[in-house]
């Protein structure tokens, strides 16, 4: 059954949707907002410790699809997800799955930096606290320090951990949000246009960070900028009108797109 469906999808999607070492597997996923089909029968693998970009014109459903992986679409009443998404061969849409630990395993960074109106320390410590990841204060301090270091923010905030996170600059806030996400040691990090609200210098820092984090985490990044996709990701998936058009190595997608729609988008004919 699954094989048949796979074959059907392959008719639609050009390129290699499967990964040799997959972490997340999406099979025939469709998403509906009421009667409106936002994602149409998408099948794709997210490899282990792999950075993959979702690109496509506005409204193509790439963000919606991203939010399926940690079931953030659950918070929207009218949204329904069909198909199967597995993490380590466990269906995340299974009734037995609790979304709370799932979302700890699959972290998320949002489009606009959204630090809590709390201190920098409390922002990062929030996740470990609610999941009980630390045994004592020293351990928690260690987690906070480690996360801030990995997010490249430690040097900048070392002497003001108690000041509010909302007082940082936009780029620093976004790195704080990344630190907050990695503090709960997720396996996958989803990033929904993480640089769209930032200036070029802050963007460059975040991209560098994504590049480094790619060594330890699977990262899915939705982006509007093709240059960004080219810079940070090994693999790229192109979405158009809710359909996954083409998946492949980033280099191939940008130099030798196989599908005419991908080519039109890359060369700026649709956008």
């Amino acid at each position: 059954m699954l094989i048949n469906n796979d074959l059907k999808t392959l008719d639609l999607t050009v390129g290699d949707v499967f990964s040799q070492n997959p972490r997340l597997k999406a099979r025939n996923v469709s998403v509906f907002y009421g009667d409106n089909k936002a994602i149409d029968n998408v099948t794709i693998d997210i490899g282990n410790k792999e950075v993959i970009s979702f690109i496509g014109p506005s409204g193509c459903g790439k963000s919606t699809f991203l939010r399926c992986f940690n079931r953030m679409n659950d918070t929207i009443d009218s949204c329904a997800v069909k198909g199967e998404i597995t993490i380590d061969d466990e269906n995340i849409y299974d009734k037995k799955i609790d979304v709370v630990p799932l979302r700890a395993r699959i972290g998320m960074v949002f489009q606009k930096p959204n630090p809590f109106p709390k201190s920098i320390y409390d922002n990062v410590a929030y996740g470990p606290r609610i999941h009980g990841l630390s045994e004592n204060k020293e351990h928690l301090d260690g987690i906070v320090e480690e996360s801030l270091k990995r997010a490249g923010l430690w040097e900048e905030v070392i002497d003001r951990l108690d000041s509010p996170g909302t007082g940082l600059s936009g780029g620093q806030q976004q790195r704080l949000c990344i630190a907050r996400a990695i503090a709960v040691s997720p396996e996958v990090i989803l990033m929904d246009e993480p640089c769209s609200a930032l200036d070029p210098i802050a963007t460059a820092k975040i991209e560098e960070l994504i590049h480094e984090l790619g060594n330890d985490y699977s990262i899915v990044i939705v982006t509007h900028s093709m240059q960004q996709a080219a810079r940070v990701s090994k693999k790229t998936a192109y979405f158009h009108l809710g359909k996954l058009i083409e998946v492949g190595r980033t280099k191939d997608i940008f130099t030798r797109p196989q599908h005419h729609q991908t080519e039109a988008y890359i060369s700026g004919k649709i956008g």
């Binding site: 940690n70 953030m72 918070t75 009443d77 979304v99 709370v100 630990p101 799932l102 979302r103 700890a104 972290g107 998320m108 949002f110 606009k112 959204n114 630090p115 809590f116 109106p117 709390k118 929030y126 996740g127 609610i130 999941h131 909302t166 949000c177 907050r180 996400a181 709960v184």
Partner: protein
Amino acid sequence: MFSFYILVGILLISFVFFFLGKNQAKKVAYTNKKKLHSLIHYYGLYSLLSSLIPTLGIFFAITICDDLLFAELIKKYIPDEVVNSKDYNFTIVLAQINNSVEGLIFGTPPEWVANAAAIWKSWVLKSNTITMAVCTITIFIFGFFSLKKIQYEFRSRNAVEKIVTSILAVSSMIAILTTIAIIFSVVFESIRFFALIPYDEFLFGTIWNPQFEGADRAGSGQEGLSQYGAIPLFAGTFLISIIALCVSVPVGLFSAIYLSEYATSKERAFFKPLLEILAGIPTVVYGFFAALTVAPFLRSSGSIFGLNVASESALAAGLVMGIMIIPFISSLSDDVINAVPQSLRDAGYGLGSTKNETVMKIVLPAALPGVVASIILAVSRAVGETMIVVMAAGLAANLTANPLEAVTTVTSQIVTILVGDQEFESAKTLSAFALALTLIIITLAMNFYALHIVKKYREQYE
């Protein structure tokens, strides 16, 4: 009645100027063979407003001033023996004459009153004629002047904009000036009170026992009979307010959280208006609910536990007042909780918080300043609430912290002091103003503080 006809006349004529203005604009456009600066109806509106507003101003000025003028002039017609008599009071004499003018005659008024009334009537007739003449002249002068102004270069859209702006500014000034006037009238009466009773006795005295004893307490042989220590009243007010808050803060806040975070949009559309109906129930209805239902219930259930609950207890008034202010807290808190950006909730869920954790650890702390402000507004509402405490809290000025006893509040004392016939010079009557002044200062301070908190909160998010 005549004034009403004049008013209708003014309105009708100004409407005529609306059409005249439009016509004039059309003519101008036709002769210049070009499009005008503004739409045609702005020219009409300009004529209407610039003829109507000055005329209305003059009309009201005349109507207000002529009564004052007549009152001054009529003094000549009051016989000297009346003026020189011991209990002569011009206000009362004036009222007598006015009643006579309006045909409200009790018994046979003295001859001089009838005479004065006749003179007054003749003045009114004259003044009506003058008013009508002046208004007619004004409206036509201003109307035709506005028509003359409608030329090709004239920008009526901008002119109308200016007029509308000034109307809005004047309206807001009226609200502000009224508040200031109220405060000043209370301040002046309070100054008279503090001339009779030292302010430290009022502010720090612990016994409230006002008696009528004439204007001059010293030498009346009754010193020490009246005592104006306001502490028991304020203590009672705060005891009842605290009980009210113990009811309304948890219930109001939790219902706000439920409505804004948990309820589906259908439930919310159903429950929120229902909750706000609570705010629409007249406080007098809450009052008899407290006095007739809650108080007897508390009394009987208290006796089961061997507690002696007064039939007019602070508890009954406080509980019902708490129910009354639930909608203030829930509605305002609901608004501030809704104003917390969705991105913060997303961040919470994205980190794997449950709904409850997100609400308690992220949304509520973020909304806290606004929630506190809503509670402070509710407190100032509770402190100033009158009807419930008049009906359910009693009048005994006990200085007690026991909610089962009867206490009295500032507002219910003001009501009892000012209801009925009063002698205005006595310290007892004037004490109502001193109480009111203190109350105004307290609630104003709390409102200012609440606004300050809300302002600070806004800055945090933008």
